[in-house]
């Protein structure tokens, strides 16, 4: 028997690439980083156009195409607006939620996705309590996946509708959006940033358009290293100081369902971080007040501020439908575009 160095062999062709090497459909929207600035502009323009579109004509755009909404967590705004968006474009939608499906019987996300695809779904809108779940679904199905919120990770459609709200406030036209559009604009995101997918997606998106984003909150909700996530972020522990610098303020609720043992003194939290009329009047009387909802009145924000003249909360909700129409149309468009640069 002789042992010899292997001569060069033609590499064996593997049957299929392993699961984690499966490609993600380029029309997916999983992270706010999935869109180049040019793509953000196109989505905003598409949202404007679809909003103005004749409803009858619009309902023919995706007539009888199949869109599945797969929701493993409760939702009011996101689910309804995605559903209305898909229906406005003429698509058939079906809602699968964890309490009324085989998910309850222990079916995995992968198998649920394969089942929905076999039923004809061409796009799946997913909300999951697990960070990264949309990538799993994208690999398993090869379909475009729209992320309607995954764990603590991301909520990219929320970031886009927040951007639309901000641009409307600043009277910036969608067609002009570029890397400098938000230069000179300071926005504070305040609250439970650690557990917030809205905060992450906004913090990833807005600095790429030139905004300065201040993250504000106590260390329990905002570790120092949060600012290292992407360039253009700063941490400010003093809410009053953050307010004085800001034209826009985005408040976040404390995510009781994700606290996992974090102890916080709620009275102290209110004192330091609540957006109340007195504080806003003194520090940022002209600032736009945003909140992705659901709001906990009397906790992070008072009713006076939430319902006040500078509140954009209803505008944010309104903008959900046009932005999500644009995302659904993009997901189902047949023109294959290369995924934008990170």
């Amino acid at each position: 028997m002789t042992l010899t160095r292997a001569t060069v062999r033609t590499p064996k062709k593997l049957s299929s690439p392993s699961f984690f090497h499966q490609p993600i459909h380029p029309h997916s929207a999983i992270s706010a980083n999935d869109f180049s600035v040019a793509e953000v502009r196109r989505i905003l323009e598409s949202a404007d156009a679809l909003e103005k579109d004749n409803p009858i004509k619009r309902a023919n755009r995706l007539a009888k195409r199949r869109v599945a909404l797969l929701f493993y967590e409760s939702s009011t705004r996101t689910r309804t607006s995605f559903e209305l968006a898909a229906k406005a474009l003429g698509a058939d939608t079906t809602l699968v939620s964890s309490l009324s499906s085989s998910i309850e019987k222990g079916e995995s996300l992968k198998d649920t996705g394969i089942t929905l695809k076999a039923l004809g779904a061409e796009c799946i809108i997913l909300r999951s309590p697990y960070s990264g779940a949309p990538y799993l679904l994208a690999r398993a199905t090869g379909l475009p996946i729209l992320n309607a919120g995954d764990g603590m990770a991301e909520h990219p459609s929320q970031a886009l509708l927040d951007l639309r709200t901000i641009l409307q406030f600043l009277a910036i036209r969608s067609s002009t959006v570029n890397e400098k559009s938000l230069r000179g604009v300071t926005l504070t995101i305040c609250g439970d940033i650690l557990h917030s997918r809205v905060a992450r997606s906004n913090a990833l998106l807005l600095p790429r358009l030139g905004a300065k984003v201040i993250l504000c909150g106590p260390p329990e909700f905002l570790p120092d290293l949060a600012a290292e996530m992407t360039p253009g972020l700063v941490i400010e522990r003093d809410f009053d100081s953050a307010l004085r610098q800001s034209q826009i303020v985005m408040m976040l609720r404390i995510q009781a369902e994700r606290l996992a043992g974090v102890q916080i003194d709620l009275d102290d939290y209110r004192t330091r971080y609540q957006a109340n009329a007195e504080r806003i009047a003194a520090r940022a009387p002209q600032a736009l007040i945003m909140h992705p909802g659901p709001i906990i009145r009397g906790m992070e924000i008072t009713a006076e501020v939430a319902d006040g003249p500078h509140s954009a909360i209803a505008n944010q909700v309104y903008n959900g439908v046009p932005i999500r129409m644009a995302l659904v149309a993009r997901a189902l468009s047949t023109v294959a575009k290369k995924r934008g640069p990170k």
């Binding site: 160095r5 590499p11 995995s108 570790p223 290292e228």
Partner: protein
């Protein structure tokens, strides 16, 4: 075992035996399952032997992996002792130490014996490691003398660290009387609830909860403090992953305590960046860490603090790994990639001499767990031998793995150093054709 095996004469190779410091051209005769002779090239006359030409190859003691999960009894869909040891043989290992987190757990002499029975079809020697506490619940010790009699070489609650000070002290004391090491998976689980990766900016970015470095180093420091109270106590720290914990071991060793430790190939080859977009084949416990920790593992290997390269081979079925990151089980396979990674990273990139690398995979782990007559090539020792080409570069494809499971982060990696032949107790258990 196999029917009578012909004697084997391995000729023309470069024989490297870190136990004796031998590194020279030598021929090796294996007969009746034992090493029969080691002589200068051409000196051995054995007309009845099958001749193996090992030109340009290294001939070394069969490799020893002191940390594997073979999943039997109870989880044969992930791995069996037969498939796990087949993967071991393909990776050049002739000895593996099997962790007790089986179903039922290896906490009784019956299970310990069952794992070693010939019916398991092992192609490498399996030394079981028994549970340190009943049900690995950290409350009451198992029967150490009976487990040792049955063949257990150490005790551990691997994966479920022993947190209580008193029970850990008891375990160290009871094991010390029998000269058994207590192996600790150092993780203060009070700090890691719900965590699935290393703590840091990447975990924050991915929205995953992170395990702080202190969860590992804190428990290592606690265990070292306890060890000081135990006469002849021996603590073995499993799969070290942080610079701080490694430093604690280094200091304890300098102070004369009997503390040994191991590092996995993935902790010296990869960082947390390998997780990418939630790839669960980069999820294990301890998690992949930062680059500074990875380089600290390499320093610890180079300066001798680390006693063993151990794989923590942890097979899982595809359907278990193809889940949301938080839900997927911890662990990766490692037996077939260990040598190729060690040579590619430690020898090629960090210029570590091959005999030092081999020491970490043979004689030093044998010493750490007190495995007598293993990890060396002395006449009379079991004929455990690996023959490999240290220069061959090759690409590892998980689909071709002998393990039942394919959960590896090294699929498609170019490695260096390829096993050609593995002989376990005189029997050819792997031969690359």
């Amino acid at each position: 075992m196999s029917p009578t095996q012909k004697p084997l004469l391995i000729r023309g190779g470069r024989l490297v035996d870190p136990a004796t410091g031998l590194d020279a051209p030598r021929d090796l005769l294996l007969r009746d399952g034992k090493i029969a002779a080691i002589e200068n090239p051409g000196k051995i006359k054995a007309p009845d032997a099958e001749i193996i030409n090992a030109k340009e190859m290294i001939v070394a003691p069969g490799l020893i992996d002191i940390h594997v999960h073979l999943r039997e009894p109870g989880q044969g869909y992930k791995e069996t002792i037969a498939t796990g040891t087949a993967a071991a043989a393909a990776g050049g290992f002739t000895t593996v130490c099997a962790m007790p987190n089986t179903i039922p757990a290896n906490e009784t002499p019956e299970v310990t014996r069952w794992m070693q029975a010939p019916e398991r079809g092992a192609t490498a020697r399996v030394f079981p490691i028994a549970a340190a506490t009943r049900g690995s619940m950290g409350e009451a010790l198992t029967d150490y003398p009976a487990l040792k009699d049955a063949g257990a070489v150490a005790v551990t609650d691997d994966g479920k660290p022993i947190l209580g000070d008193e029970i850990m002290l008891e375990a160290l004391q009871a094991a010390a009387k029998l000269r058994l090491p207590v192996i600790q998976h150092a993780e203060d689980t009070r700090l890691t609830g719900g965590c699935s990766m290393n703590a840091g900016v990447l975990a924050f970015r991915l929205g995953l909860r992170g395990m702080p470095v202190e969860a590992e180093s804190g428990l290592v420091e606690r265990d070292i403090a306890l060890l000081k109270q135990v006469k002849n106590g021996h603590l073995h720290v499993a799969h070290l992953s942080t610079a701080r914990a490694l430093d604690a071991v280094r200091r304890a060793r300098r102070s004369g305590l009997h503390v040994t430790c191991e590092v996995t190939p993935h902790h010296f080859a990869l960082t947390e960046e390998r997780i990418g977009l939630y790839d669960t084949n980069a999820k294990m416990n301890p998690p992949l860490r930062a680059e500074s920790d990875r380089t600290a593992m390499i320093e610890g290997i180079l300066d001798g603090t680390v006693d063993a390269i151990a794989t923590d081979h942890a097979p899982h079925a595809a359907h278990e790994k193809e889940q949301e990151f938080d839900r997927a089980p911890n662990g990766i396979t490692g037996l077939e990639t260990a040598l190729g990674l060690a040579i590619a990273v430690l020898h090629v990139k960090h210029k570590m001499p091959l005999d030092k690398i081999l020491a970490l995979m043979t004689t030093r782990p044998a010493d750490a767990l007190g495995l007598r007559s293993r990890g060396g090539l002395a006449p009379g020792f079991p004929a455990d031998v690996v023959v490999f080409d240290p220069a061959e570069k090759w690409v590892f494809h998980s689909a071709e793995s002998r393990s039942k499971s394919k959960n590896t982060p090294f699929d498609g990696w170019e490695l260096q150093g390829r096993v050609q032949l593995t002989v376990s107790e005189g029997r050819i258990v792997f031969h690359r054709r």
